[in-house]
Symmetry: C2
Subunit: 170 residues, 2 copies
Amino acid sequence: MSLKDVIRSIPDFPKKGIIFRDITTLLKDANAFKEAVDALYEHFKDRKIDKVVGIDARGFIFGGALAYKMGVGFVPIRKKGKLPWKKIEKEYSLEYGTASIEVHVDGIEKGENVIVIDDLLATGGTVEAAKSLVEELGGKIVGFGFVIELLELKGRELLKGYDVFSIVQY
Amino acid sequence: MSLKDVIRSIPDFPKKGIIFRDITTLLKDANAFKEAVDALYEHFKDRKIDKVVGIDARGFIFGGALAYKMGVGFVPIRKKGKLPWKKIEKEYSLEYGTASIEVHVDGIEKGENVIVIDDLLATGGTVEAAKSLVEELGGKIVGFGFVIELLELKGRELLKGYDVFSIVQY
């Protein structure tokens, strides 16, 4: 099976000219979902990992499954205003304006080895902000894992020097 | 280990008089996270399950891990406006006003056996709306699984006649 076959492409969403890659068709397919999580696992399994960080909200699905499979803890990075305790925040740029993501200050301990998971690497703005948060807490980023990478948006260039792994590329 | 020991209680969040039960301290603890997912798995493992439905956003973490462990597909129920394809919507009451959740119409096929997962059963408003969405698509709900149940809010009463399982009760 190619995972591309179970990713739905939706033209003109969220606006004209954009092709949205919809992973709900992958998720609902038991074999495809397993294959995606296993591919992330295979890529990182020989590294020492202490925590899987997942980015709100689709990163939670793959990140939660991967943390479980690896037998490590899971740390959510959330959109601003969702976390209830002491946290740090990082702003990132959107097409118009900015947004922020947050992480609890006790989510990661100094020196812990971390992988950061999201469903999609596009421009890389969100994941670069996630990287800053993890490193501000003293975490060491072992790598980034994505289900989909949109090559033409060059998000990978914001993560130079890191292990950036994606399963499917467009 | 008691999972209660790794759930953080935060007084007066999101407002005075409420004790917020914070599961990020459970999630980051590898053993506790595994124990929670395994408890959900043990409860449902002898039933025939076709899909795990997880509710946006914390339900994605446990639901994603559980679907992976069970070897079945995962279906996200999302807050309004997040899903890109054909969907149905259900409104539910909040303390002030209403909100809506949505599911793709092809997320569940008629007659499929479904469990619905969220981190928390409180008043039950969201999960009752999720129940309606699953049943409108023809899914048969085998049960509901939660990490935490707030007994005094009696959410369980909205789910009468169903198997409602929670790991930790307050």
